[in-house]
Amino acid sequence: MPFLDLSKFTKLKDVVFGCTGPDIRRTTMTLQTAESINLEKITIRSPRKPILESAYREWQDLDRLLLQFWTSRSIRPRIGYKDREEGRELRYLVPRMLPELTSRGIVDLVEYN
């Protein structure tokens, strides 16, 4: 699965990923390469399609990685939604998608266009 290598981009402060179900692994792999010491913001835009049961495991890999970003570099991840309705749905979905981050209260839901 081809993915972006962010290791060369040392000035990167802000990354946003638009995630569709099958792409979440690609997002995790890309984020693993982010070494910029300037990185301040990570935003994942909410998936537009329902998440399949099998995809939750992949979300949990992302959950662990984002937790590492929080513990090692104090980067608080954000989940972006398009409108209020999507925001309401996300409140139920996020605890299943990102259980560890949710239980520690270190994920923010933000309106993002």
Binding site: L4, F9, L12, G18
Partner: protein, 267 residues
């Protein structure tokens, strides 16, 4: 009767009303001395969508030297071929918008097999900072980039393409290209490769600080190539991958919309 307030104070008062068009229109009727500053705000953004718009503009402002076009900061031209066709008929009025800093041109859904030329808008404003172009397969990528290169101070570039990007070999690369230090926004249903190829050929290189790309998963390699060109300056990155099924659905829906709203015989 001369105003008891100095003109700079009056200008300041009018500036406070910049987002209240009704109040601005009322100000225009107060005195001739108020008109100049009020028009700066009333005509800050102008949009031409229908051929009637440009005819109406010519009717209201018959004298180019008195036209508020020079005060316009942001110009939007939808249905570009229709508007430029009418514009030629009324003496090339679009060129009076020579002080704009933002330009949005939409040429989607036109051409009918013929290639559209953007020459009527080349170098429209030497101070242009932001350009957004919505196009399909009717404009070759080389034509798009010749157009881009006609704006020496351009910083932000947004290219939105619903169709495939048509490439024409043998592009005469201009000797200079814009600064391109701001934001690059690419939304390409047909893939970003031809656009990245042209961007890479620009003689002044790329120094974007922000890149936002919506593309196909197959574009990862092109995307890396593009980002590498800006590795010293890139601070913000946004990526969205289209789902192939959704691509065809959106293209179909937009195609239906355009064919329902545009009747070539009337153009």
């Amino acid at each position: 009767m001369p105003s008891p307030l100095p003109p700079e104070i009056l200008d300041l008062i009018v500036d406070f009303l910049h987002d209240e068009p009704d109040a601005l229109k009322a100000c225009c009727l107060v005195s001739k001395s108020w008109v100049y500053r009020t028009r700066e705000h009333l005509f800050a953004h102008v949009e031409f969508t229908l051929k009637s718009h440009i005819k109406l503009w010519k009717e209201k402002f018959p004298e180019p030297s008195n036209s508020p076009a020079r005060r316009t900061r942001s110009l939007s031209i939808r249905r570009f071929p229709v508007v430029t066709f009418v514009d030629m008929g009324v003496g090339g009025w679009i060129r009076t918008f020579s002080g704009i800093v933002r330009l949005h041109v939409d040429i989607r859904g036109f051409g009918g097999g013929r290639k559209i030329s953007l020459v009527p808008l080349y170098g429209l404003s030497p101070t242009l900072r932001f350009l957004r172009l919505d196009y399909g397969s009717s404009a070759p990528t080389s034509e798009i980039f010749s157009f881009v290169c006609s704006f020496p101070l351009l910083e932000d570039l947004a290219l939105v393409s619903l169709g495939g990007n048509s490439e024409v070999d043998g592009w005469n690369v201009p000797s200079t290209s814009p600064k391109l230090t701001g934001c690059l926004d690419l939304r390409m249903l047909g893939g970003i490769r031809p656009v990245v190829r042209r961007l890479s050929e620009l003689p002044s290189g790329l120094r974007f600080s922000k890149i936002s790309v919506a593309c196909l998963k197959e574009d990862v390699e092109s995307m890396m190539g593009l980002m590498s060109k800006c590795s010293d300056t890139l601070e913000s990155l946004s990526i969205y991958y289209y789902i192939v099924g959704a691509v065809f659905l959106s293209a179909f829906v937009v195609g239906q919309y355009l064919s329902a709203t545009f009747e070539p015989s009337r153009a």
